[in-house]
């Protein structure tokens, strides 16, 4: 006889969301299993620290469990979860009072020790950006969000978002120049 986990493994996400809304713990666990990699990767790009990223990702899922009965459309679960994740990250940053000293990048931030691997190099490069610039870059490049969507979700003016992304991308290009191999990667800022 298949376990609950096995029977949920092949279920549609909308069905799982519907069950989780009624308090079905196993359905929610399956949702966590499916979405954890995405949320943890997003948080890792945001904070550059795998332990902190996992803790924040757990907070995202805890909030999702608390609020899932408010979610009206089950097929919007992914977008809703992303918004929760960004809110958790912004709350974390506000707690650190980091958003107010916001310009381009802070060169006084010491870079973490060099580690092999593109992921570590990218996280190190992202860590050299100020928090607002980093969140704009991550949402644009990791999540593929438009400038308008980023402005809406971060409460930053559209012009500021565009400026952050342009300057942040320029900074990342400088730091990660070793990874540029093709001629088409030579883009105007």
């Amino acid at each position: 006889m298949p376990s609950t986990r096995d029977s949920y493994a092949g279920a549609l996400e909308t069905l799982l969301v519907g069950l989780a809304r009624t308090g079905d713990r196993d359905a929610f666990a399956e949702l966590v299993r499916r979405r954890q990699s995405w949320i943890r990767n997003l948080m890792r790009r945001c904070c550059g620290d795998a332990t902190l990223a996992d803790d924040l990702a757990q907070q995202v899922f805890l909030q999702a469990w608390r609020k899932i009965h408010h979610l009206r459309e089950a097929n919007r679960f992914g977008a809703w979860l992303k918004r929760l994740a960004i809110t958790v990250w912004l709350q974390h940053m506000r707690a650190k009072d980091a958003l107010k000293d916001a310009d381009e990048y802070d060169e006084t931030i010491p870079a973490p020790p060099a580690a092999p691997g593109l992921a570590m190099d990218l996280d190190r490069a992202l860590a050299s950006l100020s928090e607002p610039v980093r969140i704009c870059i991550v949402l644009a490049y990791h999540e593929g969000m438009s400038h308008e969507e980023i402005a809406e979700i971060t409460d930053l003016p559209l012009g500021t978002v565009k400026s952050h992304i342009r300057r942040g991308a320029q900074r990342l290009r400088e730091i990660l120049s070793d990874y540029r191999t093709s001629p088409e990667s030579e883009m105007a800022p």
Binding site: R25, F28, A29, V32, R33, R34, Q36, S37, R40, N41, R45, D54, A57, Q58, F61, L62, W65, R66, L118, A119, L122, A140, Y141, H142, G144, S146, H147, I165, A169, L172, R173, L176, Y179, R180, S182, E184, S185, M187
Partner: protein
Amino acid sequence: MTDDRDPALQALFAEVQQDLPADAFTAQVMSRIDRLNRRRAIAWICAGLVLAPGVWWITGPLQDAVLLLAQGLAVPLIDLENRLLADVVAPLNNVASVFALALLGLRAAYRRVSS
């Protein structure tokens, strides 16, 4: 995606996406959820235990007050001799209907002033 993006950077971001193992993380999340649910249940039980004597103590006076209020609101404005007529106009011929009309009038005046 309509905004200009650096394709090389986009490729880098796509490349670092890792498929992270789910089991340990999911177990941690569900364990935190179980703790949260237990704390909530305990909080509800404690609140019930604290509130129950208060509710028991206040129920009697509250019931008396509601009864008194209902009786006061049902007092007829005009004493009618004809029993049938009194029953027909009873929904309007009482103190409560005066309050209701006053509230409706205030609401209409507020809407007119605020619009």
